[in-house]
Symmetry: C2
Subunit: 198 residues, 2 copies
């Protein structure tokens, strides 16, 4: 009985990705011993975020408003639409590249065995968006995994159906990487699609 709130807290921490019993325990002790203020902030931020963060009506990314800031921005190029699997992917592209177009967040990838089909990825909404006629290029930035490639293939067909040009970021050796440490798939792909030195 005495330890129950502590046990509940340890158990609750285990919903976090990659957090097992030991880590959950350490987190609970750390909060109680040294970070009660931070813990209270985390508690409040979680409650607020869960209550107010929904999905943007246009791009399906997380948003507190019906339409997210990027979709609502007049300074973005509405002719380019970039499809990504997750909000984290969108953030990575936004932080690393000069891309100024719009996004569509699939919140997953086609995975029929897990019951994730076109419907779950909101592809009906994407089709309607492409049908509007404003988008000229669909940049398909799904992950280079089997499921990501299958999703990319599906999206490319969808784009062509609506007269939109599909494109895909090139694959190849990572910048700053060493040949020796590149995985076989990447290396063989990079050799197969080599470009002439200008």
């Amino acid at each position: 009985m005495t330890a129950s709130l502590l046990e509940q807290l340890i158990e609750a921490f285990r919903v976090l990705p990659g957090v097992g019993q030991k880590t959950a325990q350490r987190m609970a002790y750390h909060i109680l011993e040294r970070q009660r203020e931070g813990g209270a902030r985390l508690s409040a931020a979680l409650a607020e975020a869960i209550e107010h963060i929904r999905h943007c009506e246009r791009c399906r990314d997380f948003s507190e408003t019906d339409v997210c800031a990027i979709c609502a921005s007049a300074s973005r190029d509405a002719h380019q639409l970039c499809a990504v699997e997750t909000p984290a992917d969108r953030l990575a592209i936004e932080q690393a590249t000069e891309y100024r177009g719009l996004y569509f967040v699939l919140q997953g990838r086609l995975s029929p065995l897990d019951g994730i089909g076109p419907r779950e990825l909101g592809l009906d909404r994407l089709a309607a968006r492409l049908a509007e006629g404003e988008v000229q290029e669909l940049i398909i930035a799904t992950n280079p995994t089997v499921e990501g490639e299958a999703t990319a293939h599906y999206l490319a067909q969808l784009a062509r159906q609506h007269g939109v040009r599909p494109s895909r970021p090139t694959h190849g050796l990572p910048l700053g990487g060493e040949l020796e440490y590149a995985d076989r798939g990447t290396l063989s792909h990079a050799f197969g699609s080599r470009s002439e030195v200008p």
Copy 2:
């Protein structure tokens, strides 16, 4: 503005030990995408724990009540008192050993440079406890680190002042470990304090 609740949540996750920007981001996305219920539970558990969990008046361990379950239990041996650095240490001993005595949780170790002296470890309360006369043995289970050893030395003196016998769990090779992988300090200590084969 739009992402601010999300940004606040990501920032809030960083109070957890070992959680940097990337992990905090993954945690926030995971909760929002797949674990809103679990996130709400975590938020509530945090708020409850922070509000209600205080320290036990007797042993300084975490407790919802003035005196924790172990200190309040009539079935524990009040002649033995085990001093540990953290609640996690107490839990480890409780789970791994047959120990049925009581505990005293220092919530730290002597570390003058960090401003942690006898006062911060509640040693005045420990002294008062030893002066009560019920405790016959003080088992000093601080960690075998430099600071832990210094704390152990101090506690042993304190015990002797009150006519209490200090003891310390033996150090040596870990059970099931291999000689080859034992650290030098442990190996040299184990050889120096070897016991005759019966």
